[in-house]
């Protein structure tokens, strides 16, 4: 049998599979052994084809906005899984719970007493100039004291193998449907391998999400109606919206399906207007209610925000969470953890320079070709500059933008993030990956064991977003030998502010 990894080049990055040339890490040994029994790349390609066809037939697709060759695409899927050993996962889990706890306290604080601003830990101006800070929500008693319900933090590993948080996604993080679909496919393609590895299941996510949504319902409603609000079938994540609605057995609605009468929300059914109590909304704050936010929004529901403020309907995520995933605010998260919990961050951030800080600004402008610059409000890999991979013109264009709007940008060193073997044409090569776990904050904090591993399939590329040529892999979190990691991890002690 040919050794598929014979020519595998580790490069100068942390590699998920190999500790050194030809030396797989302990948790990849079984996979390396299994792959050595494949009939070379041919068999791997056959299995890859089976996977791709299944995705297409099932319509597991996403939409690219700026592509005129037809709008639907399969999210490329790579067969070689990312494997996370139990102890590594336990570490990630405790770090993510800590972070979620602090972010919730931070949002409760800035929409309430604002201690952290008074004490100058986070500059007041930073909050008040954030595009996603919703002044309308200050002083609002959030149902169950939960100011954020779902976070999809993006994690990367640096060249030393240390996991770092790259950003938080506290508005409408997407991608979880691919996690579940990827697993379905892998079960068909490598059934024995999954069983032998004792991979922890991810399938309970829709159930956990539904439990969270029910928990948010107004307390006087015994049998709440939960709906998922989508911008519509042309949205890039529509597949996911309909997937989750189906898995949870709830209605998927568009703005035009909902009406507000006497500050209560109803959906238009064939037999009349039926009440709605919880809305899992997959549209941004700006588009929720044209009478409060953007007047030109056709996606939203006039009167929704009033119904929400009256406590007649719950929204998930709540309005105003975006202030905490502003990429400049990210910089302050470790300080929030210290301030609210008295702890050091278990998962460190990536070093970040704020162009709104004059000292950092000088550094940024002097080092643009080395840095990654991100627009603080954009997501999906849009509006970003990867210095080492950019032309002089692109760099100068960003320099002008940064000088004009310092608050809108941050910069980070270009990280040599970890790589994982991936199928690249006729051989296996290392490609950069990240990891997006999904953290649910309901009665307790729950994290699905795994998450979306995105892979930058273009050679050398560091951008993993689906809109920028990224793909995904299945993420295998392994059960601990003694079953310890499957027990609920301890939540950090809660500190009231």
């Amino acid at each position: 049998m040919p050794d598929l990894f014979a020519k595998y080049d580790l490069g100068s990055f942390c590699d998920e599979m190999f500790a050194g040339p030809g030396k797989p890490r302990a948790h990849y040994a079984r996979l390396a052994e299994r792959f050595s029994r494949l009939e070379g790349m041919r068999e791997l390609h056959e299995r890859q084809q089976l996977a791709d066809q299944t995705f297409l037939r099932r319509g597991v697709t996403f939409t690219v906005y700026s592509d005129d060759r037809g709008t639907e695409k399969i999210f490329p899927f790579d067969l070689i899984p990312r494997i996370v050993p139990a102890d590594e996962w336990a570490h990630l889990e405790s770090g993510l719970i800590q972070r979620m706890t602090a972010l919730n306290l931070f949002l409760a604080d800035i929409y309430g007493p604002q201690h952290i601003l008074r004490e100058g830990i986070v500059p007041r101006e930073m909050v008040e100039t954030s595009k996603h800070f919703r002044r309308e929500m200050v002083g609002f008693a959030m149902p169950r004291g939960l100011f954020v319900h779902i976070n999809g933090s993006d994690l990367v590993r640096d060249q030393h193998g240390t996991y770092r948080v790259l950003e938080d996604n506290l508005r409408t993080p997407s991608g979880v449907s691919y996690v579940l679909e990827n697993r379905q496919i892998m079960k068909r393609v490598f059934p024995n391998l999954i069983r032998d590895y004792r991979v922890r299941p991810v399938e309970t996510y829709p159930n956990d999400l539904l439990a969270l949504l029910m928990h948010l319902a107004p307390e006087h409603v015994p049998e709440p109606t939960v709906v998922l609000l989508t911008p519509g079938v042309f949205n890039s994540a529509y597949f996911e919206h309909s997937f989750l609605a189906r898995q949870m057995g709830i209605e998927i609605v568009e703005g035009s399906d909902l009406v507000v009468e006497d500050d209560r929300v109803y959906m238009r059914r064939t037999d009349g207007l039926a009440p709605v109590h919880v809305i899992y909304r997959r549209i941004d704050d700006d588009f929720l209610d044209p009478t409060v936010f953007r007047e030109d929004s056709l996606l939203g529901v006039p009167g929704l925000v009033n119904a929400y403020r009256k406590g007649n309907v719950a929204l998930c995520n709540p309005i105003g969470t975006g202030v905490a995933d502003d990429k400049a605010m990210y910089h302050y998260v470790p300080r929030m953890i210290k301030f609210y919990l008295g702890q050091d961050a278990i998962l460190p951030n990536v070093d970040t320079f704020l162009s709104s800080d004059p000292k950092d600004m000088t550094y940024i402008l002097e080092n643009l070709p080395k840095l990654v610059v991100k627009s603080v409000n954009e997501a999906g890999g849009y509006g970003m500059l990867v210095g080492p991979h950019s032309t002089k013109e692109q760099i100068e264009e960003f320099r002008a933008k940064i000088i004009e709007h310092p608050r809108n940008f941050i910069a980070q060193p270009t990280l040599g993030i970890s790589r994982c073997p991936s199928i690249c044409g006729d051989c296996l090569e290392g490609r950069h990956i990240d990891l997006r776990p999904y953290i649910l904050n309901g009665e307790t904090i729950k994290i699905m064991p795994g998450g979306l591993t995105r892979v930058a399939l273009r050679k050398g590329s560091l951008v993993v977003n689906s809109s920028q040529g990224g793909g995904s892999k299945d993420t295998w979190v392994l059960a601990a030998d003694d079953g310890a990691a499957e027990a609920e991890p301890e939540a950090p002690e809660e500190i009231k502010v």
Binding site: R58, S242, F243, D271, G272, A274
Partner: protein, 328 residues
């Protein structure tokens, strides 16, 4: 169920039924042209033009092809042209788009069937049609649609969604069957004298086959194959599933099921119009109709079906929020 979803299901059914009937219309025409037995007639624009007329797309067709009326241009227009909103590809693509919007509520096999069919059809073109030959190619298209119905029928729960599906399907079928009769009646005989000729009989047999009704017609003991008997069968038969009367009566049954759980909607305009049309059809004397003008009669049925469609929309889909029933 949500009004918007009901509408998507209703239209999905209509598009599928329309695609199937377009396939049937092309099929009957291809067969009729063969029966004309003369090579010249087969290439005669007059052999293909009625098709475009009957499907109601004459303006779009002229815009695209001018006077170039041939099997190639007509079949291409009616099968594969996305610029023709009634082409089979357009219908399947729209039906699939609707299914995509509600796939959270469909059994995955149902969605996968329409999706695979669409992906396959999109790759086809006139060359492929010509390669396989008309009847073989059309048979494949029909089979794919029948497959969808079969899967849907065995998988979908008999809830409101199903009944909106049935409603759309039968309203569309009633309309389309009336158009199929029109294809034959309207234009295809070389001259009026030919009525009742051997050719005429062969052609009526082809029309029945198009509706998969030849054997059934024979068994119904209606006697001779002629204009009156065939039209009576296709319009007024109570048991034949593609007859106009049968389709209208099933649309009525679907409406009853839809409102079964909503007593405040039992008496609604759509239901009343369906009952009216049903009674008219049941009381039709075909000999009189033929004497007064069959084409006008069929036209009138199509107008009444359009009226039912509008009433369905106003009752269940686009109703005004003021005065709408508040549910608990």
């Amino acid at each position: 169920m949500l009004s918007r979803v009901a509408n998507l299901v209703y239209w999905m059914a209509r598009y599928l039924e329309r695609a199937e009937n377009t396939a049937r219309i092309i099929d009957v025409n291809a067969q009729l042209v063969l029966d004309l037995q003369s090579r010249q007639a087969a290439d005669d624009p007059r052999s293909w033009k009625p098709l475009v007329n009957v499907s109601g797309g004459i303006d779009e067709f002229t815009e695209l092809h001018g006077d170039d009326v041939s099997e190639r241009t007509v079949v291409d227009f009616m099968l594969f042209d996305m610029r023709n909103p009634s082409s089979i590809l357009s219908c399947i693509s729209l039906a699939r788009e609707n299914a995509r919007c509600i796939r959270d509520q469909l059994a995955s096999e149902v969605w996968e069937q329409i999706n695979s069919f669409y992906l396959k059809l999109r790759e086809d073109d006139y060359t492929r049609y010509a390669q396989l030959g008309s009847s073989d190619y059309i048979a494949r298209v029909k089979t794919q649609i029948q497959l969808f119905y079969g899967i849907a029928e065995s998988m979908l729960p008999r809830n409101e969604m199903w009944w909106f599906f049935e409603l759309g399907r039968h309203l569309e079928r009633a309309d389309n069957t009336s158009r199929i009769i029109d294809v034959k009646y309207f234009t295809l005989l070389p001259s009026l004298h030919a009525v009742g000729s051997a050719l005429d009989i062969v052609q009526w047999a082809a029309v029945l086959r198009t509706c998969s009704g030849f054997e059934a017609f024979r068994k119904s003991r209606r006697g001779q194959l002629n204009l009156e008997h065939v039209v009576d069968y296709l319009v007024c038969d109570e048991n034949f599933p593609r007859s106009v009367l049968y389709a209208v009566s099933h649309a009525g049954f679907a409406l009853d099921c839809i409102t079964a759980e909503a007593p405040h909607l039992t008496d609604n305009p759509a239901r009343r119009l369906v009952a009216q049309l049903h009674d008219e059809l049941a009381g039709t004397v075909i000999a009189d109709v033929i004497a007064d003008g069959l084409h006008e009669y069929l036209d009138d049925i199509q107008l009444k079906l359009a009226g039912i469609h509008t009433a369905v929309q106003e009752t269940f889909i686009n109703y005004s929020t003021d005065g709408a029933k508040m549910l608990n």
